[in-house]
Symmetry: D3
Subunit: 250 residues, 6 copies
């Protein structure tokens, strides 16, 4: 089920049979000369939507703006500060927990989000710890490229030139889902350079076209479709495992 296309009564019924929900979460940020600004929130959304066709799982609306400060040197990037991001994840979680959701699975599409999302989890748990009580919910962060089988497939598809930003795998996923929005450009160099990630001005100076270590020209919609299918199948399984994970005996 897609939560935003459901009624509250349907969610009330869903909660009778499951206490789990998937939240696609990403970022809206530059992805090199040809990558779409929405790549990092569209990838987990695409995978989650595909997965929901295969099972009785519930997908929340997509959390589409994340922590992308280092990309702010490129127009179109929109970023939350970590403190804002933590507050917002907190309110999403408090809302869902108030309805009785106990297992909240964040399917993430942006490496730069990881630290802030984990910090947000700790912030939420600490509320309970300081009050000497249980939180009543468990939070899980999973990057879509860490879903079982995905990294292996991407390595096969892109043995060289994958890189870590504006990668051919993420671009392929969006090409598969949005074939009308495929962009083309000359890449120079073909495989982009690497470097440390600091502030936004520094980042653009080191990475003038926005890529890090990647050759996006390797992306094709077909490869994207393969990645989506692999990821969607794994998501269903990993959500199932998370849902069934028992609380430790206390």
């Amino acid at each position: 089920m897609l939560l935003h296309l459901s009624t509250w009564a349907e969610i009330e019924q869903f909660l009778q049979r499951s206490r789990s929900i998937v939240v696609p979460i990403g970022s809206n940020e530059q992805h090199g000369p040809t990558g779409l600004l929405g790549t990092d929130w569209m990838c987990p959304e695409i995978i989650a939507y595909e997965a929901h066709k295969a099972g009785d799982i519930l997908i929340a609306p997509t959390f589409n703006i994340g922590m992308a400060q280092h990309h702010l040197g490129f127009p179109g990037t929109i970023s939350l500060r970590p403190s804002t991001f933590i507050a917002a994840i907190g309110d999403w979680t408090r809302s869902l927990a108030a309805h009785g959701f106990e297992k909240i699975f964040f399917l993430n599409g942006h490496g730069g989000n990881i630290a802030s999302i984990e910090a947000a989890f700790s912030e939420l748990y600490a509320e309970a710890s300081f009050a000497r009580r249980k939180a009543g919910f468990a939070l899980k962060l999973c990057n879509w490229w860490d879903l079982q089988g995905v990294a292996e497939l991407a390595n096969e598809q892109f043995p060289v030139g994958h890189g870590i930003h504006a990668t051919p795998s993420e671009i392929a996923v969006t090409q598969w889902a949005y074939p009308d929005a495929i962009k083309h450009a000359e890449y120079s160099p073909k495989i982009a350079n690497w470097g440390p990630i600091r502030e936004a001005v520094d980042f653009r100076a080191r990475h003038p076209d926005g890529r890090m270590g990647s050759d996006p020209s390797l992306a094709t919609p077909e490869k994207g479709g393969q990645l989506v299918m692999m990821a969607a199948r794994s998501l269903v399984r990993e959500l199932q495992a998370f849902s069934e994970e028992p609380a430790p005996g206390l």
Copy 2:
């Protein structure tokens, strides 16, 4: 242009010819027995997407979670606290302003957002005021039902039973855009009651099925399509006027 389907280079070019952007903003909350939880963020998104077909305007990703605390008694509602909402609108705005956007037009789909969005604007302006400088950007809030011609059309379409929450007009808009997600139910009473808006427990007690003053059975996809077309045309014009509004002589 849809920002999320564009590259940073395309946005850099867009900024050469315009400094304006539309941000669809709404809420994910209960909308009665048949209204979709995503209604309030999907309506402005639907209208903005329609409008962008008609002109060279830029649409940001949709800000899909707003201030819906009074609906938290109904499963599926996700709400930001006003303080979080203000922080997040602030970061969106600071990001866009850092790229050079000077006119940011928030197309809103949820009445409960209005206070917090206006507070967010003041918070941003105050940063500049306290530093004795100009903000460098102007922010505008416009509810989609306040776009020129829309309220008149809705009054014609729904002379009775429109109400103020889970209204037939907003439900019609989503029916037009998501015909596969049209839901049915018996409404009792046919037209829902009214009452003050307080906290969530109080709200659900006063409004057991979530509606306020509305009869959603009046909605049809056709009426929704008419509303979208009217709203989209007006959006283009009102954005144009906002873009051309001169700064006062200083």
Copy 3:
């Protein structure tokens, strides 16, 4: 009763017979060439003090600094940012609720406060919603010009030139209460212009003497006295209605 002129024991007794309190709330900000900087907090204070003579109602100290960032271009204006305003209203409310007040009626004197006050209410309610409990109190915002009969009277008194800032009605109220502080000036133009409200620099450029749409020369102490009497009578009634409003059956 005026709370600040009472002892704690008197308030403890009052709580045996009523759980309601009125908080006059306003702003300290420019009011054109002749309006007093304190106009917006003095008006609700004047009305509330008048009302307390007529019945057993309790008036809190006046919350005298509000959200006036757009007036910061004019000396003497003091403004809270919305985030600070929300925090402060929160602490006032938490204090009063800790004593057992259940109906807190904010009598407001400044249009620019409305968004932040409503946001503050939602922030407070959300604390309870996220914890799945009732707030235990109900908050009501009422602008003094929305008290029954007041707008009609003002329309009669000032059929043209009322405007929306530095209005003859609010200036008349302060003239009635503070006759020694009546100021005079030439107004040019006689009726001030209108315009959008943005940041402070922009506001002063658009409205060089601070007025919006008003002709304050129409104010007289007599008209002010009539407004106060009308408002005070309505305040007693509306507070009574709010106090007696039953909680919905749960």
Copy 4:
């Protein structure tokens, strides 16, 4: 001048001849069986108003709610948390500094405010320090009982039974200014006990009628008038000294 009874134009003129302003600041909290809840904000207001008759000094509106958490066990007390108090003092100061005020003199009426006000000053200064610039303003905290000559006079008036909360001196000041609000009660014991100040529940248990070390029956309006005159004269002098204090050579 009283700022709230002035126009913005009058303040603009005042700033041509002075960059100093007095902010009466206090608290609204229990003051024993007979002390008024407003005592701590009315005392500095009374003194400041008296002082402004004697010289060309400017008095801001009264900051009437301070840090009174330990009195929250007594009905009628309204308290800001220190974090809120710091934010609010910050916004008052930023507003005044934006107009060009350079010497802001807080005349305080509540011992429990001191820590938070000093913390607020440091918070404001640190903004400048972290940015490696001067703040552009100097902030001074002065309790009214520390104005020159006041403590000596109070010692003469009340050689025993002065205490530190609900003192005869502060009650005398309010008796002089508000003779219609003089309250009477039996005090038992005549001189209240002392003890550490902790949280509110603890405080009320230690001090059942709210007093600390005081015998309020010693207060008379006449003594209050003497205190006010002494304090007002000293305020004018100390404000003058603060205004003329040169910035250190840099």
Copy 5:
């Protein structure tokens, strides 16, 4: 016991016999030409470590960065803003209280910390007050120079030239504990001047070498040792008294 050199199991046992803990708290800031930057956190740490040899008391890790904004003009000073300081003291306290500590004794080494520490205490207590419950813990602030007998001894040792910053007594304490880090310089003037404490730029202009009213050349390790012994003995006694202080009958 030193908490950081203990295991959790040892602390669990300690809590069976005591609910008290000492937190050395100070600041890292300039201390004149010869004072160590760590002086203000090392002094309470030195005293607390000495005290723990004499009795079954528990010493927490040292809170080593405090509120030192006025010293930020001198390299090596590290300061928290008061708001950050309050938040951090809050989390230390919430952590300790969650384990069952009921009496938390902050042994302070920096005058500039006092306001923020007291504000932090009130912030913590207010959480309980607003929720109409007891905090469950008592917090005590004690400056090491206010421990019984210390000020008298320092007066004897340094009848002139003690001053209030970079004092010979605090420097003597660090000389005793860190004899290898004794520094020498010419002082001009021999006894430093005094002045108001404002922002950092102002402070350095008034106090070019950082001292306030002091002649650090009077310090010797021997005098430092005497001070430490006196302070350590008093600390044990004062902690004992605090631990045994009964809660007031409720």
Copy 6:
């Protein structure tokens, strides 16, 4: 140089020849039956102090309380919430940057800190990004076990039973530095189990004695000394490299 044992004048001189500083940062938290509560802040402190003997490098005071919410079920653990941690790292950094430090190297001793420290870096950088300027400083996080050669050495020393919490390598480091505080216990099981990290109650239920995957009985002071020497040498080199890293051409 150890900053806390230096004078401000010595730091002013140091800044003439270097703009780099090392901040040891860790956590105070349970480390199993025999690990010291201070392990995670003492390890980087021990290594940094050793390193400073070998070169002209500057070591800041130790940031000793980090993000340890999941260990709050064990007495003695003290944790900052991520939001507090971010604020505090921010103020340390702003202080150091105000003095001219441009390369700030955080030597970390706690895995649970990583997310919050990285979030803090982004928060600081975003301040600059939103203002369209460079931050003026670069921040680097390095865990001591990631210093070159350390992991290899630990793998040799502890081929089985290293685990991830209360590891023999970290315990060995503290044994070398604090031989008088070596603790002994029976471990059951010899090698602790693994599991997901959630909130504190959950953590203690899964890991009753606090260890994760480790056998601390393998630790010896000698192995600790080897680790310290290896880490200290690498720290000097890696700090050197960070210091010399050129800013990208802009």
